[in-house]
Amino acid sequence: MKIKQTENNTFDAIVVGSGISGGWAAKELTEGGLKTLVLERGRKVEHIADYTTAFKQPWEFKHRGHLSNKEVEEQPIQSSHCDATNKHFFVKDVEHPYVQVNPFKWIRGYQVGGRSLIWGRQSYRLSNLDFEANKKDGHGVDWPIRYEDLEKWYDYVEEYVGISGSKEDLPHLPDGVFLPPIPMNAIEKHLKEAVSENYSDRVLINGRVANLTQPKKGRGPCQYRNLCSRGCPFGGYFSSNSSTLLDAHETGNLTLRADSVVKEVLYDEETKKAIGVVIIDALSKEEISFYAKIIFLNASAIATAAILLNSVSSSFLNGLGNSSLQVGHNLMDHIVNEGTYGTFEGLKDKYYEGRSPGTIYVPRFQNLNNETENVDFVRGYGIQGKGERENWQAKATVGIGVDLKEQLSTPGEWKIALGGRGETLPNYDNKIYLDDENKDQWGLPLVKVDFEYGPNELAMMDHMTKSSEEMLSKAGFKNVGSYRTSPAPGSAVHEMGTARMGNNPKTSVLNKHNQMHDVKNVFITDGSFMTSSGSQNPSLTYMAVTARACQYAINQFKSNLL
């Protein structure tokens, strides 16, 4: 198929995906003066106007929070992560099937803004403890960058995004450019103090979240409704829709095309460069080609790898830029446990007003140095949590009638729930690949996901559960218990690593600028690039890396090097 390049279908840059990293690529490239086409496979979602449930009251949902059986049938996988109030920002699995070789939840939001509308908003920097980990213990390959390469880019994106947090001076969790933190309530403060008293190896800090405790450029501040995943009509948290895409649009350099499923990246054998992409219009199913000098892939780790694997040419029989045969491999997701909980009998005279969208956080405290070395596993985990006074949603009630009614309106016991998030090791056997036999409704091969946690992750999960229980018990909590299981892999919704960065083109896909070793004008800055997973929630790193790679790409473009 050869379609003529015309002014209408030719851009300086194409960005595939409009989620958290695609939004950043759009903003940076357009602000750098590049005419940029952003392709989004899902539907349009306008900031505010399309947050259809944002102002709905609890009683306006026919089934309250519950999904109906019919809805669960349409969203058998997504349904563990969504409810009646936000289900429209999660795909219908029946329309977008994939193959689970082993159980793996692929949680997706196919729409303009992607999963930036529904993300957890936790924002933590990686440190050199993370960037040097592979080199030190031999798992995976060495990162081609260090914290120093990224530091100013973290500053840059944090300043724009608006991260509320507290300065803590922890070498393994660098401080950032913070708005005032979301304060801790009485029980969270109690636990913080108890952790300080009982442990010298760890601290409990305010979670760092992309919720605005002060207004920023027409957005926010947060109204403390804690309904973020419906889309925020106040712009109280960061999403592509509320910020990056609007700023990209303002430059006049942005063309955003929704309902555009990318089929493949086109490669020119003579120039040895990518020249554009072929899309399938999601609705009309028509194939259309777009051309550009620079391609950014920000479709999310699994989808980006699938696009590369489906982009076959005589130079790249195994998929574009895949001479290393690493594309699709080294898939990672954070290991999480289902959680630990405990109740507290005191502090009955304290309450709160407003609903915090934030958390508390115990940053990693294992394997930081010799004193904290753990022989059962390498790397580490952090623990997130939240404290509250039970209301009817959590309370165990007794009886019926007036007594019961009274119990429902009385503030209940304080309780805290904790959940660990642990690092997953890069492992070649954890992978995605294309199904040669089964196709989706656009004729594209289905993705197969083959992923299993290894002994290191499982040992870590056991430890995070026990240490969470111990922290609560030592702090005087009662009824301390845990669900001693981990939900299916994918549940952290942090899939990453499928086109890793590295110094060696034989063992990695991207160089230190997020350029493909094999195809210099293709950049990948979604979770695919992650050489190791760290234990921190990764979105902030995707954003910083995207901004950094965009600056490099713009300079190269302007010097006619791409």
Partner: protein, 190 residues
């Protein structure tokens, strides 16, 4: 009054077919029997209102339309197993009511209604391992389902959330630590 006549009367009014009626049909297993609960709306309204009655502070579950939510949930969201447990439970209760009080539930006195539901509540309140296994195997019991849905439906209703609980749709600020005031009600949402 003859028990069977009364039963026929109730079921007739509420639209249950009696063609093959020889006592009600006890459903077992997980076949789909959905679509029947609308006919029980009067009974369900009375039940939810005994569980959460009107008090001086706020109207009860019936005025909060909790019966509608119970039916929507059971018809659209429940498993067949639990739906059947629920339907059987309603029929059981009505039968029991006629046996003991010679009246259908709706026409019993407040004390009688309370008595009946307290018995069911005690039976279903077991939190032991056996009851967990039974819940998993057979689905939650009739009363467990009824009470859970009544509490949820009421606390998320406009009346429940705004009159019985404290509901702030747009707090606008977060005061992380406040002193609990004397008559402070629990927050409706979190």
């Amino acid at each position: 009054m003859n028990r069977r006549t009364v039963l026929k009367g109730i079921l007739g009014i509420t639209g249950i077919g009696l063609a093959s009626f020889s006592g009600y049909k006890y459903i077992v297993g997980s076949l789909n029997n959905k679509g029947q609960l609308k006919a029980y709306i009067d009974l369900i309204s009375e039940l939810v209102d005994v569980i959460i009655p009107t008090t001086s502070g706020a109207p009860g579950a019936k005025l909060a339309q909790v019966q509608d939510y119970v039916i929507f949930y059971m018809e659209d969201c429940s498993s067949n197993k639990e739906y059947n447990n629920f339907l059987n439970g309603l029929n059981d209760l009505q039968e029991n009511c006629l046996d003991v009080y010679g009246n259908n539930f709706e026409n019993c006195t407040t004390d009688q209604k309370m008595e009946l539901l307290k018995d069911l509540d005690n039976d279903s309140s077991s939190k032991g391992l056996l009851s967990k296994i039974s819940n998993k195997l057979r689905g939650r019991s009739f009363f467990n389902i009824l009470k859970t849905l009544t509490v949820e439906g009421y606390c998320t209703s406009e009346i429940g959330a705004t009159k019985h609980l404290e509901y702030l749709p747009v707090p606008g600020r977060y005061k992380a630590i406040t002193e609990l005031s004397a008559n402070q009600k629990a927050w409706a949402t979190r």
